[in-house]
Amino acid sequence: MHTHRRRARVTGRVVACALFGILAVSTLFAQEAQLPSILVARQLAALEGIEIGDEVELTSGEPGGDIRRFRVIDTYEPTPDPMQLGVASRGVRMHLTDLLALTRDAATPTGTEHVEGINIALQDPEDAREFADDVNARVVGAYALLAEQAAGAGNTFVVLERFHMAIATVTIVAATVFLLALTVMLVEERRATVGVLRLIGFPARRILVQVLIEGVLLAGVGALFGLVLAVVSEDLINRFFQWQYDTALVFVHVTPTVAATCLAIAVPLGAVATVVASWALLRSGGLRLAKR
């Protein structure tokens, strides 16, 4: 859980080195058994110098709130959140019963506390919608949502994905123009060659097919080169940004879908650009093309 409204206070480490003999060790084990355990966010542990095995005191932050002792049994990596980039997580995770005991006020009887939500993993995820409908029909005071609905259309990740898609669209437009300009010039350069081919009897269709194949090959090689570059740089980019923000968030991930989308866009685009650039040229007569 996050400790937005909880105040954590580190009281110090267990002075294990001060305990001697079997009796002392037994006492320590007995204390450890009694203290409830918690996990501390890796960043909080680093900030406060908390180590595994330390005792910490937690309070709900309410005036006069109970102060309870816990033992840190491990650290955890907080769920990455792009909205929290650069913000050191100050979270701890504990058993729900311990949290309720810590935050329950005197007027709330045990067992009547509320929770904000319940995450449910089904045996068969395909049943999610049916299960949610069933819960909504049977349980009063709770509302079941599919995980993707709970995230919402305005979810940060969804919005960032749309933003990246928009940037990618603009980049594709610019790249297309670049490609067209390049192919126009390359075709112009081969004007005389095409003219000679026409004069010795090659039909325009035949030359167009050749140009198309060239375009597909060039675009394919270019797209593959781009993909290889992306895969090679993927780890580098992730390592840099993960170091920069001290997060486990994955910034770049070349999935098979992404790779297929890139190929599906780049190869036809390259082929079409080549054909479009060649079209006007091939409509001219052989003599006109071949003349110097």
Binding site: R5, L85, V170
Partner: protein, 394 residues
Amino acid sequence: MNALACSWRSLVRQPARTALGVIGVAAVGALLFDMLLLSEGLMISTRNMLESMDFDIRVTSTDQMPGRGPDIVDGPAAAALVATLPSVSSVITLRREDARINQGDSRPAFGSVVGVGGGFGRPWTVLRGTDVAGDQEIVINEFASQVTGAELGASITVRARCADGATSPPPMDLRVTGIAEFTFDILGESSVGMTDISLADACGTPGAIPADFLMVKSGGDPAGAAADIDALSPALLASTNDEAIGQLQQRGFTYFRQISTVLTTITVAFALLLITVLLTVSVNQRLGEVAALRALGFSQGRVVLDVLWESVLIVGLGGVLSLPLGALMAVWLDSILKRMPRIPADLHFFVFQPEAIWIHGVLLAVTALTAAIYPMLIVARLPIATTLRNEVVG
């Protein structure tokens, strides 16, 4: 004919190639312009919002950003303590909680309720009606008014859901005295403004009036007043607007600055590659023509200058076109990013700043010059006799 006119004619002679080059630079330049607007946009927008509130210091209980850390347990007492400082002009307490509001059987509106206590100044501007004067009065934003149909004088029911409040706080009927624009209004969400006492009642904890943070107006020296507040109590941490912006630069939304830097670098490199290839291929196709000009008496410097002017013209025309194109794109991209949850309506990711035009111009100028280097070298080193002979024999 001077070099500029000669270059212009060279470009006009090949309209398709020139048009594609200019469009390519315009597209890349527009993206570059947008990334420059993005790099500082969020900071400028946040600063504008903070300064529009006429308060120059925020006081919290920890070094967390306002609203993200623990509450100040007794807001009015903390405000009263801070108000005793001679360097402080005015103090208000702010507490924000989630709420559901409706008028009678109207469709409920979901949003936030802000409880304010203390001195002068409120985080909203009344557009119609009057400000909150008592504990049974509220102001609502236009969105809440539209959804619930509540107008001035209407009674609406507020059901607050408070982080530290009762599990089932009682619904409260309150009178709308004004329609207001809230400084941190979120697009498509209702906002309700009331006193801190009303909010404590709505949370079902009438005796407890915590505050998310205090907003303080200094007597003219924000840094001095912040230092005085820090010295006042270890439970209070003050930060000026400048410090808040600094925190945001370090902690929040740095992702957009990073992506802006990365994309600026990529777009400049892309533009450089585009112009270099265009000019190089163009020059290679006109080697015979250039050699003939040299043979006619054109100096080496003159033909090199022709190539440079071609680069400048393509980048210049594309760069000019990229500004309106970039402005349109910025509006589009801003509307995408503003769909993020909990983003205030007045906050913008892409904000125009005069410096962006200068930097954009300088980057494109450097690109034009750099892109022209290789084709200029080709022209400068061109062997006149050999080229002419090859042209004739070829």
